[in-house]
């Protein structure tokens, strides 16, 4: 049977300094689905994402790679609270070094991402001179330019203005249509539809 599950977690529990963060979480990351993990501050959203990406080991329980791709983790794009951008490089350079060297058409990819987020005028500006929201947008652009299977995004909506949120939602929708899967954390529920669902952490 063809399965659509890419990453599966079974009954994972995480303890930090002897205090429980969360317990018994079983969830699946599915192909062509958006998973919105929401919960109050301190409910362990970031920790859960780190477990999904394989950086942190859960105290108990397992995380399985259920896709047929051994190199799945190379194809995860993770955007965390920290932007991952170099302050002393321009927007263009930051995005350029993010693309794998063997890939072609680097400049067209970067230009397309800049156009989608309407930031063409910032192309040659150093990242340290951008505002917080603009930096966030540049780090989200990485999702567009890289060739990835899963996007794992930690609070992507913070610091974005209404228009940018609209653009960002559109890029998620396009990506899901192209067989991608997305995990985001959020402080609120989103309206569910055929390709998106919520998961509450508490």
């Amino acid at each position: 049977m063809m399965t659509n599950i890419i990453i599966e977690t079974k009954d994972i529990t995480l303890y930090r300094n002897d205090s429980k963060i969360f317990e018994g979480i079983s969830l699946d990351i599915e192909k062509t689905k958006l998973l919105n993990i929401f919960g109050r501050n301190g409910s362990g959203k970031t920790s859960l994402l780190k477990i999904l990406t394989g950086v942190t080991e859960p105290t108990s329980g397992i995380v399985l790679n259920r896709s047929d791709d051994e190199t799945l983790y190379e194809k995860i794009i993770y955007v965390g609270h920290k932007s991952g951008l170099k302050n002393n490089l321009t927007v263009n350079e930051n995005l350029y070094y993010f693309i794998k060297p063997e890939e072609q058409n680097k400049t067209t990819k970067i230009d397309r991402a800049l156009e989608i987020y309407q930031m063409m005028h910032c192309k040659n500006i150093l990242v340290k001179n951008l505002s917080h929201g603009q930096q966030k947008k540049v780090s989200l652009m990485k999702t567009i330019i890289a060739d990835a299977k899963v996007w794992i995004l930690d609070e992507p909506y913070s610091a974005l203005d209404a228009e940018s949120i609209k653009i960002f939602d559109m890029t998620i929708e396009n990506y899901i249509k192209q067989e991608g899967s997305v995990v985001v954390t959020n402080h609120k529920k989103i309206t569910e539809n055929s390709w998106s669902k919520n998961y509450q952490l508490n």
Binding site: G54, V55, E74, K75, I76, S83, K86, L89
Partner: protein, 222 residues
Amino acid sequence: MKDLLQIINKEFLLVARSGYGVFMPVAYLLIIMILFNISISFVDKKITQELIPLMIWISCLLICILNLETIFKEDYEDGSLEMFLINKKNIESTIIAKIFTHWVSSNFPVVIIAPMVALLLGLDSHTAMILFISLLIGTPSLTLIGSIAAALTISLRSNKILLSLMVLPLYIPILIYGTNAVNNSYFGISYQGEITMMILLFILFLLITPFTCAKALLVALD
């Protein structure tokens, strides 16, 4: 290989953008040597001649510790460390690329300048050459050892003191071999043994550092 070159390219661009930091180690070396010479000016010239290469070696070792913490610090703070640890590909080569660029930008200038300073202070050219060779082989090992300690202490807010305490005992064998090689050369005794040992130590640390660092960084991010 292409990945490695791209990372090295990026790191050098970052060094070039970071301002005058590159000249600091050389400035430190010059300051130490000037102060050293002023303070021992009343000692017999013959004794100071013996001490100069050893003093230069010790200064280079201390300068090496000075900015060890910067190897992974910036990547940790801006979040790019997380990203390359998640994409499990190329962790080791990225680490080697980082250590290499760190060594080239902050130790290599010192390695070049140190024998010149020694020559200016009246050391014979053969010993200056051995000083250069011993530093060229010795300082990469120092950086490799230091990078493990830097990776382990990265999540601590003020890690400088702990870092120095961790690496100093590990630096002593290399210091002994380095200073012995230079000293033997000064007195015209064989120094090949010391140089060979330093090459062996370098190869040993080159082999174990990438894996140890990768593991240490994962622990630190946990």
